[in-house]
Subunit: 321 residues, 2 copies
């Protein structure tokens, strides 16, 4: 059994090769540039951990982990185009550096490469793993579209928002763990618990992310607090606030969002606190975290094999703020 | 043995179902809209014909044909974004109707759907067919990037341009035929000849397309003549003209391209004719057509089985202008 840290390091080494042909550097150099920006590589490590929960790591797990990391990076390149984001991880985004058309095409071919890695695994589970991957890929696209749709809507119901977040950010983590389980020879029941563990954990992570953007300690959080509020971004906090606020609080919130005064963040936070949005968000996060842990408990393997996944959960969901 | 016409009609029927989930209509309706714009469906028919050259049509050929048609449509949606094209087949393009972000995402998920159809075929040849498909998908992206690169370059060598055209427009037709052959149980040698038949035919088609845009009879060609010249598009004709023109003709060509006078088409055509670009293009097209036919001849099946593919070649390469 290897720790999250060990597997992350081993994956970094495995992944540090050139994933693209030597031809057509104008297409592939943007992809090389983007991949070397790094990332936490959580999803590929989740494949390896899902596998090792049940058995020694299957050599094919490295290929699937690579496929999933390439797929994730393809979605980031395209998301950055859609969001018109100039920076990612403090560096220029692909479309900002190479232009929209090349970024579009670089993302397209990055998706092709992910299927190339998938297609190298043993044929005995190729169809089953492809199937999980394809369903998930479709959901990730649906999640991104819903996110864009919601940004244009006056209000969004919490359950719709939860569904969008699950698709946009959780199902790929969930599928990574599940495919790892399949490669480890897990039963259908066990792979389903693994999937639900990842899905709930991903939702808890997103609630935490929204919470930290509003209430986090900037010295620990690493980015400026209040960015979502300034951008009028729909978050768990805003959606809940609009559900529970009094009519006058609601009117004030909408005025702040429309007029963007200098003290907007401060005033929106005051309303959030008056509505107990911070407590509510922490409780919702804890609920999803507990959900995740229940699914992990239900997996029928020796509990001492579950250490790395507990570690992953703690790595994603911090408790020191 | 079914004719091109019969297979095209049968494919139209098979393809006329909903290829997308009922959820998230804001993502999938743009794809439904685009698919109902129609198209000649040449590539999927090529899969069926490549199959039937060797054996009765394998039920999986319909799935692969669908995958290839979806992949082709994904590339068209993204190409239209890159080209900022307002119209396709006389109707609004997806990005023009639904916005760039949705068009980008609709294309992405159309690519996912193509792998979904591929993944439904019998596992005994899944890996092999996926492999042909993936290599081809990558080449199509490379071709599009090279096309964009070339548009920014002062001059492009004919062999580089030929390579780009092969990737952008021919390899998907070639791969369609080859995969059809695999599904029909063809030998490696036969599938390679089928591939080369399609590749040469695709190049001949593109030379013809460039020729017709400049020299075609508007009443037969169906679109305005001279569009490529007006747009300074790099074509077989322009590339060859720049290779063989005298210094003064070259200078005049470049001036016309820079200044876009009212009589630009007329004057560029005069230079093309003075350089015998029209004769050269017809000869080059004939050479690739003959190449294609030689590969078809080399395929080791009864020659009476080759009728539909000869018909396909004649459908693509017309001789009445």
């Amino acid at each position: 059994m290897q720790s999250f840290e060990q597997l992350a390091q081993r994956f970094q080494q495995y992944f540090a090769v050139d994933h693209f042909p030597a031809s057509t550097p104008t297409l592939y150099n943007p992809n090389r540039y983007f991949l070397q920006l790094g990332g936490k590589r959580i999803r590929p490590v989740a494949v390896l951990m899902g596998n090792e929960l049940f058995d020694e790591i299957n050599p094919d797990a490295w290929k699937v982990a690579t496929a999933i990391e390439l797929f994730h990076n393809f979605t980031l390149i395209h998301d950055d185009i859609m969001d018109e984001a100039p920076l990612r991880r403090g560096m220029e985004t692909v479309h900002h550096k190479y232009g929209n058309s090349t970024a579009l095409l670089a993302g397209d071919v990055m998706q092709v490469q992910s299927y190339d890695y998938l297609n190298r695994i043993d044929v005995s589970y190729l169809q089953r793993i492809n199937n999980i991957f394809i369903i998930t890929a479709r959901q990730v696209c649906e999640g991104q579209q819903l996110d864009m749709d919601f940004e244009k809507m006056e209000s969004v119901a919490l359950d719709e928002y939860l569904n969008m977040i699950a698709m946009k950010t959780s199902v790929l983590l969930a599928a990574s763990l599940k495919i790892g389980g399949v490669l480890g020879g897990a039963s259908k029941g066990n792979t389903e618990h693994l999937y639900e563990f990842g899905k709930s954990l991903g939702i808890a992570f997103q609630i935490q992310d929204d919470y930290l953007d509003a209430f986090g300690d900037p010295s620990k959080f690493g980015k400026q607090v209040g960015g979502d509020i300034l951008a009028n971004k729909k978050t768990f906090l805003l959606i809940h606030a609009l559900e529970v606020a009094t009519d006058s609080q609601k009117a004030e919130l909408k005025q702040l969002m429309a007029e963007n005064p200098a003290d907007k963040v401060e005033k929106v936070l005051a309303i959030f606190k008056a509505c107990n949005v911070d407590t509510w968000a922490n409780e919702l996060k804890d609920k999803y975290y507990a959900d995740a842990m229940n699914h992990l408990d239900e997996i029928a393997v020796m509990s001492n094999r579950k250490g790395p996944l507990q570690e992953l959960a703690k790595f994603l969901i911090k408790r020191d703020y």
